[in-house]
Symmetry: D2
């Protein structure tokens, strides 16, 4: 271990402290290689390493990077974490030169920067998947624009609506979430490398240069702030994930309702259902239920992350180690959820007749009141008038509903899907540009000095 | 009640359903008046009300607005909520004309838009208070730039630091939080008015016009999305509050430690302490402890809000009513916390000698290793070399520490306070501009048609 | 204030530290009087007060107790909390004698014991209300024993069930919860009085005697444990409340589903519904939705309490003050919820035909498979056999279902309601006995020495 | 799969639904075998299987049980879960006879009963480890009974205390937790087997017999209650774990403080510390920090479990599948935490001189006030008297402190360790008896019919 000073190691205690790091850190290893390359190049430029050292170190880092990307790395439990593993590889390959790499940094800023590279990459992947979900929702909304269904409030039939309006709401909600990811990106777009253990180092390192090499917009300046932001940045990402899941949860809950025998507005394809071990007739909507439960699980993970990362004085505490697990798990969960929902939405089958039949007369009570208003009655009087008709059984759905009028923005007859599609395209263009920039950095960091 | 249809009311059940709304809704009443004015002006322009109606309604709405701002409104429990109260006032004052105001809207979009006006105003106040905290932290950091103290990791003395670096970290962290509030603002900067119960209305209302009158950048289009965003927007604000509190919590924890007898780096002014009922000698740091606990309480409130607003199918459910309480409580909590911390920070007294004395030799072990590196030793060897000296008692703090060098961005010797101050000014300028714009709207909404 | 030492007080800071205590502490005031009476009697017996002092103090404490019970106490904000208020009343009434009462105790153990008296009383009230809910559920189950409905799994029709079985499940679940309250009672049935600030006092106080006077089974011995249990005991009560609410939440969710137009198995009486401000036809199940949401709010409160009371070193910290609010709020919430549900359950109207009609053929698929098993087929083969029939449309509900057989314990035909009723009676007998014992203590504590 | 009806399987969807079950279910496999044996024996006795069938099935179940205990089972992803795996093994070994085992049960009651057997076993192991922690705390308390240290409130020196009192508080707190586990046991001590999918089966199964074979005290009667208790029972266990961790968290926090350079009351053995990658002088208290963080992580897991298992209508939903992971993780976490703390406590080294030196004069201010009381002054006057002395510098620690007097129960001088030890022995005797009973059942279940 990097800090070994010759003392014997207690196996049980070592297991307790190492925990899941050898597995969890695999997600950060390739990023650690990239950040280490930037660190090494900076040390060279600052005269703290010779060019020969730098030129020796870069190819070994690159080789490790590629192994990391291919998930062909194994971190032994005795190696504790990905940083120890990486230094060990460098020393193995280069001897004394490898021992020079940790100059002017600590594992504290090393994990911070590696996690930030990880976060920005995963954030982009989430944005991409989100975009695809919005796309299928817009398509679904367009395809079912005229398929009426009851709009519900309090889970009671309220006013006429359509499957188009139902889906457009989710599309627009997720579009807001997609836009909100930019705020998370802004938080993590500052480079903590050089903060060392949270107090900097008494060496003339060039933090602006490493930030630039790694494609960060800014340096996260105060070394203390770098450490204090541990957990807070990750939490901002997790909160954004939870907000996305909040939209999906409503979608899944609706599907659970709309596909049950009593509603039967929607049929799930067999591929998205499973059976019972005891009841031969059952087709259960397991995918929907699990997707719904994963939204709650994600809240649980985000909450666990908050529990672990709060309640402490400033600076680094070993407690933070345990936060890596729920972070990685949450990111993977949301990505798999988005991947499934993107397949599920186009596969939904609408039972248009059944949904239309559920649009019973009462749904038009407000419409009828509006017709009385058009004849001069104040709305509250018209409301009570119609309520009276409903109560004594004389209510009739107004004959001329003019139900094809566009009415107003956001009505079932004016869904603004083109606008949504344009906004989506603009947002995804930004996401793609970032993806390309990161790919470029992961390529150029190994290039000539 | 707006929905009364002549049925008798059960008192216990009425209490159960009304809950705290008569008190909580007072926070939204003035905003409801402003939004109602916009609604009425729009109905007039769309030909759904006459000019005479509009001109009659506006002054009554304005009078109610002013009562609302002055907190001179009382909502009777029989009136349920602020919307019922407002319509009752209009009917009281104007008779039949008052009964016309609810045309083309529902309490569902009415509370949504009132809450959004509330949220954007409170968000701005939070931003302002945050700015003041950053300002006093920058000043504190500048004043104590050269006052050394140990930097801690794992709550163990790690490397030399300063009170200036300690405070600069909090300033920079809060500056990031201030920037992040813009993302929350973007979410709530879309107008839900016109969504009615979540499915729009069969009337040619002009949603773009009401959005413009109320100073929103955009219409929140799909009526379904408006309802589905209930809770999600508020949660985004609460998550931002929790993130701010995460920075303050570390500050308070540090103060609790640094001011205890064993550290004694910082003395709290008597005004910020209280005593014991049994022990005459005690001065307890209650303000700090309560400030710290309020950070946790805020997490609790945000979490409660999430509990209440999630787990449901789409559209409105009465469940959401209960979310208003923790929202308002959380906003007030954070504002009072920021108000206290802004007074606390400049009042802290630093015991410079005590802190300097705690900078024991071991803090310079990394420095000593770096001196060996300067003589050509690889870092890892130098590290082990110094570890050996520490172990056998031969370690000496290096004579020439060159401790005044600026070293690098974010080091105690290069705090970048001027940059922080400039960024703060820019951010607060935006906040002030929004404040003025809102004031302008609250004034012009009553103006001539 | 008890700790005042002549320093000027800063109003804003005083407000910050006092918080909601003057309101919240009203819940503990009467209990504080009772515990103070026990303390005073013990001091008299131990020779630390004269009999004259004790005889003077008791009537004043009793008078305050009665005001506290009648909710006729006002705690001024300058008085901070109920303990200060009480000492002030004693000094007001008795002068120097009143100043003697705080000998050998601290506000730390004073609030601990007052809260414990509060908790045990409220716990008993929860138990009583729980018992009444179980009773109406048993009655409902008996009344609807033969009213069939589909049993659902995955919100899909699964097997035949009955309203009797549906309700019996809730009765039995709540009975388990009622039994579990005994464990909470055991935790709080130890007397912390005498722990003072957490380290005892150098005085020969008789802790066993105060414990006995107050009806505790045991002394909570180590003074440190008394302080460390702050929050933990209350949390145990809150966790029990949350578990109860977990049962009720399912009940309310079921009612929300079963009463919507698509199911229509159950009709809610009008008194339990409200209307819409825009849609004249609506009757919304607000009571059910709010009851459901309150189950989540309760989880939020319990979670907030945990946030506030954890994450700290041992001994007292001012942070704990903030935990009193959510505790009291949670207790009141659950009690009001149980009071409403107890009225709601008997008022439910079952639409027996509608529910019977929903018992479609597929529900009998497992029954059909069992008939094949009876003819010798292995179950898994029979299952696939029937699945094939369902798939090719040849499935027929078996003619002889023998559907009146009792089958087994816990089947719809063997609900064991008498056993449940007996267990309920036994549990409530214990609750009533405790209630009487507490009443006896609240009476005898003022009696002759 | 048990429910396969010949439809093609989508690999991505299958992965989504299967999730971690193949790994998580390994914890339940052996228990499933035992419960299946009871089920089979009951079916035989009820005439639903022949003796030949039963005699064929038992040895195969036993073999699987032994593989399960030895963790030599592999569940293929195509097999979904442990129940499918087990039926597949039975069919593999016995052909048609294996296909008979699922008669009269569902995977729903199968997992319920297997989890209950798992829970009661793990609960017992937690109790055992808890007992060992209490034992070392009692020993530590006894060994350091006379080693004085300051007692702290508000993290400020308050009154004289001792390491003995400090440790006794934790011992007594954990003893309360140990007693509270009995309540959890009572909840899970009812047999759900026979509830099938939550509505029983139309077969004359003997639920009392399976309950007895498996050593449950009672049958959980209403089939609906069995399903509704899913999650609630596990949560009760998790809440108990969290409460235990609440005690340990305070202990770990105290150790983090007391072992830092500024306090230095306690030295951690090197084996419980690790080093820094950059600072050669550091020995970090990682074990303590991780133990502290695991207490928070446990709260996170319990909270995630609650998120996943609440918010749903009654009966089974696939959502519950996701709750198994955090349950198992939490149980393992607490057990490993208890195993480490039990080793840590006896290894702590007390720096008696340093702690004694921290007992500065002010700690005796209350003692001094009590001496004035002994001379007749009312306590509040004496308090102000001493406060005045402290303020003007005339305060002196009273000469005759009589500091060896026992004072009262729970004072540092009267720790009642023997009583604690006796109560511990009684509690552990019960735990051991249960352990033996379970072992007996796991043996006799394979015996002759």
């Amino acid at each position: 271990m990097l800090w070994a000073k010759g003392l014997a190691l207690d196996e049980e205690i070592h297991q307790f402290t190492v925990g899941c790091d050898p597995e969890t850190d695999l997600h950060f290893y390739a990023h650690d290689c990239v950040a280490s390359a930037a660190h090494v190049r900076m040390l060279g430029r600052a005269g703290l390493l010779t060019s020969a050292h730098v030129l020796a170190l870069l190819p070994v880092l690159k080789a490790q990077y590629e192994l990391g990307r291919a998930r062909q790395v194994h971190i032994a439990r005795t190696q504790e974490d990905c940083h120890t593993k990486l230094e060990a590889e460098l020393v193995d390959a280069l001897g004394e030169t490898g021992k020079r790499v940790h100059l002017g940094r600590s594992r504290n800023d090393q994990i911070l920067v590696a996690m930030r590279l990880y976060l920005r990459e995963e954030l982009n992947e989430i944005a991409r998947l989100l975009g695809q979900n919005i796309q299928v929702l817009i398509a679904f909304s367009g395809a079912h624009r005229t398929h009426v269904m009851p709009g519900y409030t309090h889970m009671r039939r309220a006013m006429p609506a359509s499957f188009g309006l139902w889906a457009a709401g989710f599309a627009e909600g997720l579009l807001e979430e997609l836009a909100a990811l930019a705020g998370v990106h802004a938080r993590i777009d500052r480079c903590p490398l050089g903060a060392a253990a949270g107090f900097g180092v008494p060496l003339p390192i060039d933090r602006a240069y490493t930030a630039q090499l790694l494609g960060f917009s800014k340096v996260q300046r105060a070394a203390t702030d770098c450490m204090n932001s541990r957990g807070r940045h990750e939490q901002a990402l997790l909160d954004a994930c939870v907000s996305i899941a909040g939209v999906l949860e409503k979608l899944m809950w609706d599907l659970a309702l709309f596909s049950c025998e009593e509603f039967a507005f929607i049929t799930l394809p067999d591929a998205f259902t499973t059976g019972s071990s005891i009841m031969p007739q059952k087709r259960n909507p397991d995918v929907i239920e699990l997707a719904r439960a994963k939204c709650r699980q994600l809240r649980g993970l985000a909450n666990m992350h908050r529990e672990i990362t709060t309640g402490l004085p400033s600076s680094y505490h070993r407690d933070y180690q345990l936060a890596k697990g729920p972070l990685v798990e949450a990111v993977q969960l949301l990505q798999s959820l988005l991947a499934i929902s993107q397949r599920l939405i186009p596969a939904l089958q609408i039972n248009t007749e059944r949904a239309a039949a559920a649009c019973t007369d009462g749904l038009y009570a407000a419409h009828a009141a509006y017709q009385l208003v058009a004849q001069g009655e104040p709305f509250r009087d018209a409301y009570r008038h119609i309520a009276g008709q409903l109560s004594d059984g004389t209510f009739k759905v107004p004959a001329e509903l003019n139900s094809d009028a566009p009415f107003h923005i956001g009505h079932a007859n004016q869904l603004c899907l083109d606008e949504l599609a344009q906004e989506l395209t603009a947002a995804i263009t930004d996401v793609d540009a970032r993806t390309q920039r990161y790919a470029q950095i992961n390529h150029s960091i190994w290039g000539p000095l």
